[in-house]
């Protein structure tokens, strides 16, 4: 009992001193569990996040756009892998992690349960969804768990091109034909509120702590996007959005949390489709994994 207390005290002292916790260090079970949940949800989000964009690879309007989209999706696969590796250092296997996703037990970001209806969605996803993700992720580079923090440093470094290519794509459409301009505006209209929901519920309704920090990040996101959209010559679908001289920030409207909760519960437009696609990929890849292991075993024998 007394050793347990001193271990906890030493752990807390290291957290307070902002020292990193490493895989083989002693840690409280609750810390380990929370980390596994958070990192694996993050990994699943990267992997499922490839699907809405994969939808447009074969229909990209030019080779330039196609290679950019492919590179972005490859990055997301890479980010998923960095994060799965970080989660595995906590004593859970890749297969367990994957099964939690495929069985529907584990969550991933709700944003990926929305469909990508037009090419302009590739721009809106990069600019708004990746833009919101980057703002949330920068804070994670400083988190207390070493492998997660190091993975996030790499992720953040690679994400910045995602946002820029999205903005460039929308700007090109904005300056195109009236139909292209309208298509870009429509994509922004559909992705704005789901992107805002990525910052989580506000103070009073959220079951989790650390919300005031989230609120600050959300305000920063609104201030940034409200300015950038002027350059795009488009508008955000929020009638309450206006500059507040007194606060020095943009005011914005309230989010429809009923919709958010429905998507979270599994009733979003694409929840079933996304999981079905991941299951199909896993099942249809089984023979490849088995063959690779058989090949490796055979080569081992012949050495």
């Amino acid at each position: 009992m007394s050793t347990q207390v001193s271990l906890e005290e030493r752990f807390q002292a290291r957290i307070d001193a902002e020292q990193k916790i490493e895989p083989k260090d002693w840690m409280p079970e609750a810390y380990r569990k929370t980390l596994i949940r958070q990192i694996s949800q993050h990994a699943h989000s990267e992997v499922v996040g490839m699907l809405p964009e994969g939808n447009w690879i074969t229909r990209a309007p030019s080779l330039r756009r196609k290679v950019a989209l492919l590179a972005k999706i490859q990055d997301e696969a890479g980010h998923g892998l960095y994060l799965y590796s970080a989660a595995e250092t906590l004593g859970i296997s890749r297969e367990e992690l994957y099964n939690e996703l495929l069985s529907g037990k584990a969550k991933y970001s709700s944003i990926f349960n929305y469909p990508t209806l037009t090419w302009a969605d590739m721009g809106a996803v990069g600019w708004l969804v990746d833009g919101a993700a980057i703002m949330n992720q920068v804070a994670l580079c400083k988190c207390s768990y070493g492998p997660y923090a190091r993975a996030m440093v790499r992720v953040c470094k690679e994400e910045s091109f995602h946002q820029r290519q999205g903005f460039e794509l929308l700007l090109t459409l904005s300056k195109g034909t009236p139909e292209q301009h309208a298509m870009a505006q429509d994509a922004i209209n559909r992705w704005w509120w789901p992107s805002m929901m990525m910052f989580g519920p506000n103070d009073s309704d959220s079951p989790h702590s650390a919300q005031s920090m989230r609120w600050k990040i959300k305000q920063k996101f609104v201030d940034m996007i409200a300015e950038q959209i002027k350059v795009l010559n488009m508008t955000l679908p929020d009638p309450d959005l206006r500059w507040n001289e007194e606060r020095g920030h943009y005011d914005f409207g309230t989010i429809d949390w009923t919709e958010f909760n429905e998507v979270l519960k599994g009733n979003g437009p694409c929840n079933r489709e996304r999981l079905a696609a991941r299951r199909k990929a896993w099942e249809e890849g089984a023979w490849v994994r088995e063959a690779a292991m058989a090949h490796a075993a055979k080569r081992q024998q012949s050495v």
Binding site: A71, G78, E88, R94, N99, E158, A292, M293, R299, Q300
Partner: protein
């Protein structure tokens, strides 16, 4: 969950430029060493982050125990005479 079918884990080390040492960057699963090398290239060097890669089976690594960090590194602690600053030299002495 049975682990036998899962690809083994490999640790990845990358030399970022000629002349620098290989540095640990992370880990990945692969059926064999060749696959581990190719996956390491695709996962960790998508933007020319390396000119050389080592992959090592994770099981082959022996690590010092974090619980023993203090006693383990203790022998070097009181040997301040191993550092140049331990030695007094006259002020104004050049090139030392």
């Amino acid at each position: 969950m049975a682990n036998s079918s899962e690809f083994p884990l490999w640790e990845v080390f990358i030399r970022s430029h000629g002349g620098l040492n290989h540095k640990h960057v992370g880990s990945l699963h692969a059926a064999d060493a060749q696959m581990a090398l190719e996956h390491a290239r695709d996962v960790y060097t998508r933007r020319m982050e390396g000119v050389s890669i080592w992959v090592v089976p994770s099981t082959a690594i022996t690590a010092s125990d974090p619980a023993d960090t203090d006693p383990f590194f203790e022998p070097a602690k009181d040997k301040i005479y191993r550092h140049p600053t331990f030695y007094d030299i006259p002020e104004g002495l050049k090139h030392m």
